[in-house]
């Protein structure tokens, strides 16, 4: 029997334990209420911490900082890896996206998900803009909401649910990341949503809580457009 000390529980929450130890911890959590409360509190504070530091991510970067990077550099296009390969073989879109997604996945790192990149999102803004966009897009939105709800309701953490609308060409994946209960016993899940429209993938991280029978309501939502856009 292992000992559920604080450092083990913290490593557990951070996804730093191996598979076997994780299972052991989970088994013991079942009959250690204090440890369970501690774990929930850790997760909650970690989630709140990420949200608390999001402001910086969606603020525009001061121009002088961008200039520091842009102006002091001698550009050498010919040395980029892409050009090295000479007249390129055709790269299908999908491959390009993986190329974009991988550094981001690396930046996120393992089981832990940081909220990387520049963010900008407001639930309310989306509601307003819905009135303006085409009906097709609206249908996609509704369909994606439904899929997200489905993923949150049915998928284990780490398992993605994929969706695609062949008419609009839009596709998306929805991946619950972690699950926990807040003080009132309500279930909440962090999730990741990748929406690909016209070749651009937007990654969003959210925190949703189960409000009714099978209904999940997003409480924090953050849109990423950083790395994927520029790489």
């Amino acid at each position: 029997m292992m000992n559920l000390d604080e450092s083990t529980l913290i490593a557990y929450v951070d996804g730093e334990l191996d598979h076997e130890t994780t299972r052991e911890v989970e088994a013991q959590l079942g009959n250690t209420p204090e440890a369970r409360v501690f774990v929930e509190r850790l997760r909650e504070i970690a989630a709140l911490s990420r949200v608390a530091f999001n402001d910086t991510l969606h603020e525009p970067v001061p121009q002088h900082l961008r200039d520091t990077v842009i102006n002091t550099i001698t550009l050498s296009n010919t040395q980029t890896p892409l050009s090295d390969k000479g007249v390129a073989t055709f790269r299908p879109c999908q491959q390009t996206h993986w190329g974009k997604a991988l550094p981001m996945a690396a930046a996120i790192g393992g089981l832990l998900l940081g909220l990387g990149g520049g963010f900008q999102y407001a639930e309310i803004k989306t509601q307003n803009s819905l009135q303006l966009v085409a009906l097709a897009q609206m249908q996609d939105q509704i369909a994606m909401e439904t899929q997200l709800n489905k993923a949150l309701e049915a998928n284990l953490s780490g398992n993605e649910l994929a969706w695609r609308n062949p008419d609009s060409g839009r596709s998306a994946t929805f991946t619950p990341i972690r699950t926990y209960q807040d003080k009132s016993g309500q279930y909440c899940r962090e999730y990741r949503k990748d929406i690909t429209t016209d070749g651009n993938t937007e990654t969003t991280f959210g925190l949703a809580c189960r409000t009714g029978e099978g209904t999940w309501k997003t409480k924090y939502l953050i849109l990423e457009n950083g790395l994927a856009e520029s790489l």
């Binding site: 501690f38 970067v61 900082l65």
Partner: protein
């Protein structure tokens, strides 16, 4: 020194995250931007030390961290910091619920800001940037054992402080908590 376009673009793309990490270290927006600026200048001047294919963000975090420590040593800014902490959290959200939510968020931010320097760096990298323990220990150039013990101290302190703050665990109507553009 030349920097290829892709690296340049990647560096620009991670600037928001670099600013966030720098904010965690300095606890002040203007200081954070100064720090990021210095770190970028340093990075560009020694870009040949960065191995393409390795993580640019980790490398930049390390430069920011070491630059910050140098600055701390050369400038005694404790008084400034104390003053700054008092001014944190004047974020404007509309709606009562958002205000409630922002209060919780302010508490978390304040609690993190009040951690000792070395613990705060660890929390910023692991909890907020989402680095693995191994990656974070490489960025900070400390052994894994040191990293985990700092992390345990920091996390237990945060739990204690947040429990004392006696706030609602998760604000119940937080969807008004959009990342509203803040006045510069």
């Amino acid at each position: 020194m030349t920097l290829d376009v892709r690296t340049q673009q990647e560096l620009i793309a991670i600037l928001p995250r670099l600013r966030r990490f720098a904010l965690g270290l300095t606890r002040n927006g203007a200081e954070a931007d100064d720090l990021v600026q210095m770190a970028c200048e340093k990075a560009i001047s020694r870009i040949n030390q960065w191995k393409p294919g390795t993580r640019l963000d980790s490398w930049m975090f390390r430069i920011i961290q070491t630059t910050h420590i140098d600055r701390m040593r050369s400038q005694k800014r404790r008084d400034t910091y104390l003053e700054i902490i008092g001014n944190q959290g004047e974020h404007i959200f509309d709606g009562e619920n958002a205000a409630e939510a922002s209060l919780t968020l302010d508490n978390v931010r304040r609690a993190i800001y009040n951690l000792p320097e070395d613990q705060r760096a660890v929390v910023m990298l692991v909890s907020i940037e989402g680095l693995s323990y191994k990656e974070a220990s490489e960025v900070l150039e400390i052994p894994m054992g040191t990293l985990t013990s700092r992390l345990v101290r920091a996390r237990t302190a945060l739990v204690r402080i947040m429990n004392e703050a006696d706030t609602d665990s998760i604000p119940s109507h937080a969807n008004a908590l959009s990342p509203i553009e803040q006045g510069a």
